[in-house]
Structure formats: C-alpha cells, structure tokens
C-alpha cells in the first residue's frame, strides 16, 4: 500500500521514529509572532498632501492638467479623498474613479498608485463588483496593472504585445475571532456553557501581491503557470520574494470612508491596522490563562493545585486534576472535578475527565519521566476538545 504522506508528516515521523542521534538543538525563545503581512500606516489625504511625495505629486499633476476627454481611457479621478498606505517598502495611494450612480451600483472602481522605495511606480485599476447586499465582492476583485510613466495611459505600456505583463492575485487573510464571555475562546470553542456562541475564524480577501519589476519585456514577464508572450524567464513570486510587495485590497469610496489607520473590509466594516499590530495584540491564550487564574478565587485555586502538584513530582505516581465549567447563579465558573488531586497507579498512567464541560486537565510528570507533554497527552487534548460543548 502506498501512502501519500505530506512533507510535514514525514518530518514528524523522522523525528519520532527515526531520529537516532540527538536532534538539532534549537534555542527556544518566546517571540512575537512574525507577520507575513507588512506593517502599515493608513490615512485619508487630499491631492495637496501628495506634494510630500514629489514624484507622485508631479505624475498626478501631469495627469490632471490633461483634458479628461483626451485621456485614452477617459477616467476621471476623485482627488478630494485619497487613501494613503505606507509600509517600510512602499507608499500607496488609492483614488476612487468617478462613476455615475448606475455604474457604481454594479462596481466600485479604484485606481491604485504605488511607489516602491520612492522610485518604481505601479499603476493598477481595481474593480470591486457589488453584491446584491450592497457589500463588495471581495473574492472577485478584478485588478489590471498599467505600465508606463504617465498615469492612466495604456498606450505607454512597455509590453503591449503578447501575454500577461503583470502578475497579481488576491488571497484570503483569515484571523481568529475570539469570544470573551468567560476567558477568551478561540475558533470552535464554546463561549457559553450551552455552546451556542463560539469563537470563529473570519476570512477576508484583503491582500494582493504585486510583482514589482518594471523593465524590459523580458523582466516584466511573469509566469502564471503558462508561458507568457514576453519570452522572458519564468520569474514567479516564489523564485524571488524580493520583487514582491503585498498591498492590501482596500476598497476606497469617499461616501463610505474608513477611519485613518483602518482598511475597508468591503462590507461596510473597517479593520483597524496600526504600525505595530502584532506587538499590541494580546495573546488570546495568555489572556485566557490570566482570566482563568486571576479570577479563580473560590472554586479551584489553580495556583494551590499547581503548588501542591510540584510537591508530588517526587512520588512514583502521576497526579492529576480535571477542571470543568459550571453555571452558578447564571454566571460561568471553573470548578474541580474532584476535591482532591487524583493519584494514579503508576509513573505514567493518568486519567482525564472527558465531557462537554471538561476543558482543562492538570497533571504531573513525576521525576524519572519526561519534563514535556507526551504523545498520549496530545491525543488526549484532541479528545477533550472533541467532547467539549
């Protein structure tokens, strides 16, 4: 029988079953979660504010001096409200394209002008289809990149012949939404004892990647899996991450503005961003632990349990205690399943309460056993999770 294992599991199998020599020693340090997404600042500005970026300002002024009728696409920009986004590597300006109400009822049209390292200019026309609900269809964003120095002039495209001369895609950005009725509860976990309210994962199509290179036809050629007309190399983003920037898909409409330092989610909601988002977000598990332990004054006394367990690790048996949620006077409390620690039969035998309300198990690994969770612990954790309301 041939099994189709992923590389992920192969690595694990290697570590568990075939790692006969001491495996690589990685130093462990608590670190702030690395974000794949750029840290950014956002603001709403006007065309005057653009003067702080001379190149962008000049290009915009050149464009505005042209009679709109002569503009080859006939696009008129609303310059009274520009969404500005800044990251370490780029500055991006999103304009709403002026539309009549019928056109707007079908599509929101934006023009995005981005300067990478204050030099490379990227122009994009971005259309957001409007759903029946009036929200924007963030999963079907249509984005076209224009080339050339002049704004909004397709005939300045440096590579107008052949296949795709830009590469971009939107993708889902998912984040956990925690509920915090008692403690913080992650996706799938019940917030209330009846399990009606649960944490969940919210996904929004928020980001697009743009391949930055803008030179000859050869260097613009980007592979999207098919050979392109430019005849150049297949420079996919994965080949050269340095050429990729990630720009938030940030639908801009002066009629429905999002506050500074926030991005539109397309359905009327705005997501707050700031320049140090990861540092400022509290770790939900640490919050949960703090809530669990600090609010724990009457029923469990977790600190006492842990301190007692510490004195029991020299015993030749394992000790444990299971905690469950109970409603007391309409309020949810954590309680012990047993008043005393449960003393087990041997060094490694344990017993864990499994049930709709049993959300936590505390146990010892006595002297002579391992100072780390066992594989059995991991499986039990999963079983506990599956049985939770």
């Amino acid at each position: 029988m041939i099994r189709n294992f992923t590389s992920r599991i192969l690595a694990v199998l290697f570590f568990i079953f075939f790692c006969f020599v001491s495996c690589e020693k990685d130093e462990v340090e608590p670190v702030v979660e690395e974000s794949f997404f750029p840290r950014l600042k956002g603001a709403a500005i006007t065309s005057k504010d653009l003067s702080s970026n001379p190149l962008a300002y000049r290009r915009l002024m050149d464009y505005l001096e042209k009679p709109i009728a002569k503009s080859t696409i006939g696009i008129e920009l609303d310059t009274t409200f520009i969404r500005f986004i800044e990251t370490d590597s780029y500055k991006s300006y999103t304009f709403k394209i002026k539309q009549d109400s019928l056109d707007r009822s079908r599509t929101l049209k934006n023009f995005v002008l981005t300067y990478v390292n204050d030099t490379i200019q990227i122009q994009q026309l971005v259309d957001y289809p409007v759903l029946e609900s009036g929200a924007l269809d963030m999963e079907n964003i249509v984005s076209v990149r224009l080339f050339g120095d002049e704004l909004l002039n397709p005939f300045t495209a440096k590579c107008s012949s052949g296949g795709p001369s830009y590469y971009q895609y939107e993708y889902q950005y998912c984040y956990p939404v925690y509920c915090s009725i008692s403690g913080l509860h992650g996706p799938g976990e019940p917030c209330t004892i009846d399990g009606v309210q649960r944490g969940y994962t919210n996904c929004v199509t928020r980001w697009q990647t743009v391949f930055v290179d803008q030179g000859s036809c050869e260097s613009i050629t980007i592979s999207d899996g098919n050979p392109s007309g430019g005849g150049g190399g297949a420079n996919t983003p994965s080949d050269d991450d340095d050429n990729i920037i990630i720009i938030p898909a940030n639908p801009t409409d002066p009629e429905n503005p999002c506050p500074n330092n926030s991005l539109s989610e397309g359905g009327g909601d705005c997501m707050i961003v700031n320049d140090e988002p990861e540092d400022q977000l509290p770790d939900p598990v640490i919050n949960e632990l703090n809530n669990l332990i600090k609010k724990d004054t009457s029923f469990v006394k977790i600190k006492d349990v842990v301190n007692l367990m510490k004195t029991k690790t020299t015993d030749s048996v394992e000790y444990s205690l299971s905690l469950y949620k109970d409603l007391v006077g309409g309020e949810e409390f954590t309680k012990r399943r047993t008043t005393q620690l449960v003393r087990h039969k041997s060094l490694t035998s344990g017993y864990v309460n499994i049930g709709s309300f049993d959300f936590c198990n505390i146990h010892t690994h006595p002297l002579g056993t391992h100072g780390m969770f066992s594989f059995q612990d991991i499986v039990t954790l999963k079983t506990m999770h599956d049985s939770l309301n």
Partner: protein
C-alpha cells in the same frame, strides 16, 4: 487545554490552535503505523518512541518538542513565575 507540572517545577500549557491540523497529523501517524493494532496501541507505541527521543534531547526538550510538533496545530506556553501570572508562548 492541558497543563503540565514537571519534576523540575516547570509549568506548561498545551493548547490547540488548529484542530484540523492536529486531527490530520494524528491520523497521519496512525496511518503510517499500518492497519494492525488498535489506536491505543499506536498511541502507546508513538508515546514510547517519542520518549526515547526525549531522552536524547534532554538538554533542549522544549525546542525538540516544538520542532517535532511544529505543524500539529498546537501551541506551547510556559509559566515564567511560580505565581502563574506571567506566561510565554514558546516558539522555535
């Protein structure tokens, strides 16, 4: 969640961050171990094998654990004080 008190006084918490990943990873191990044997036998076997590798990595058990279970959808926390008022999310 699961809390562990070890003989050197460390207090760890193990928490699921992605239950689908955890489920798939556990099932992959069960699959790897073939069609013979019960699930509990497979768990015991893996627990024992993992324990042998813990023995070889005693100087850095946390790092070893994180490396092995990097893609299991679980996260490991450690209490920084005996008061349990300060926790760190351990990462590779």
């Amino acid at each position: 969640m699961m809390m562990l008190v070890t003989s050197n006084g460390s207090v760890y918490v193990l928490k699921i961050s992605d239950v689908d990943k955890l489920s798939n990873s556990i099932n992959d191990i069960f699959d790897f171990l073939g069609d013979n044997g019960t699930e509990q036998q497979k768990i015991d076997f893996t627990t024992e094998k993992l324990g042998l590798n813990y023995d070889k990595n005693l100087s850095n058990l946390e790092g070893y654990f994180l490396r092995v279970f990097e893609n299991f959808g679980i996260s490991l926390y450690k209490a920084n004080n005996s008061d349990l008022s300060d926790w760190s999310n351990l990462k590779l």
